[in-house]
């Protein structure tokens, strides 16, 4: 049985994809394999914490990672690896 992804894994996946560059939220939802509405709620939370920036230009939206987000990504990368080693994720 496959276990449901934890919030930690979802945040890590989002940050990992954003490390590659700015992206449209719809495409990001596909890449992180989650519903658009749920992704937007998480992105809103991450935006409030200064980890990502959501830029709206007319009808289009793009999401990018901030300096604080990059720092958290680097930290989470090690932590996720360790927790995976323990089989906790």
């Amino acid at each position: 049985m496959t276990r449901k992804r934890t919030k930690l894994q979802i945040i890590y996946d989002i940050l990992r994809i954003l490390m590659l560059g700015e992206i449209n939220p719809t495409k990001l939802a596909t890449l992180v394999n989650m519903p658009y509405d749920r992704l937007m709620n998480i992105l809103k939370e991450m935006n409030e914490k200064g980890l990502v920036k959501i830029v709206s230009t007319g009808k289009t939206k793009t999401v990018g990672i901030t300096h604080k987000g990059v720092e958290l990504y680097e930290e989470l990368k090690k932590i996720v690896e360790l927790l995976n080693d323990y089989g906790l994720l």
Binding site: R3, K4, T6, K7, L8, I11, K49, L51, L72, E75, L76, K78, I79, E81, L82, L83, N84, D85, Y86, G87, L88, L89
Partner: protein, 186 residues
Amino acid sequence: MSKAKVFIMNIPLMAIEVTGFLSFLYVALRLLSTYRKFRVQDLLLSSTSFLLLSVSQLCAALSIVFNDVRVSASLYVATSSLAMAAFILMIVQRSCSEKLYTFTPYIVFLIAPDVVAGSLSIYIAIRASGYIKMLLIMLSSSYYLRVLSVIVGGETTPIILLVAELIRSLSAVALAIYSSVKVFKL
């Protein structure tokens, strides 16, 4: 053998236990610091697990320091109790999406038999990988050896206990150092 001589002989073992304590504590604090930045519950649970493992190591170190047999024995038993609490928390985190039951370890660790600590660490080891798996199996075997020492009895008990403690301290410290190196930040 004089008390001073016994104390000197115990210094290497104490150094190992203290290193394990500090390394696990470092991992716990790193996880806690990340948790504070982005309130993800999994990080808090993991941090608590590592904190319990670090206190387990501290108890092992203190059990060497105290001369009083009762205090020393209590601290020695507490090492497996706290390790057991840590492993239960890891199992809860791994298999239960409902975090309501996370209080369980704090109740269960009071009853604390070595065999439970051994079984739980084996259970954690099953899904672990690489060095962590190997070290958890070693750690688990040390708890079983403690049980064996009680069953066997007689003159062999101290020898088995000594071997068990050597395996336990070495595997715990290796686990602690490996974990802290993984999350080390300059």
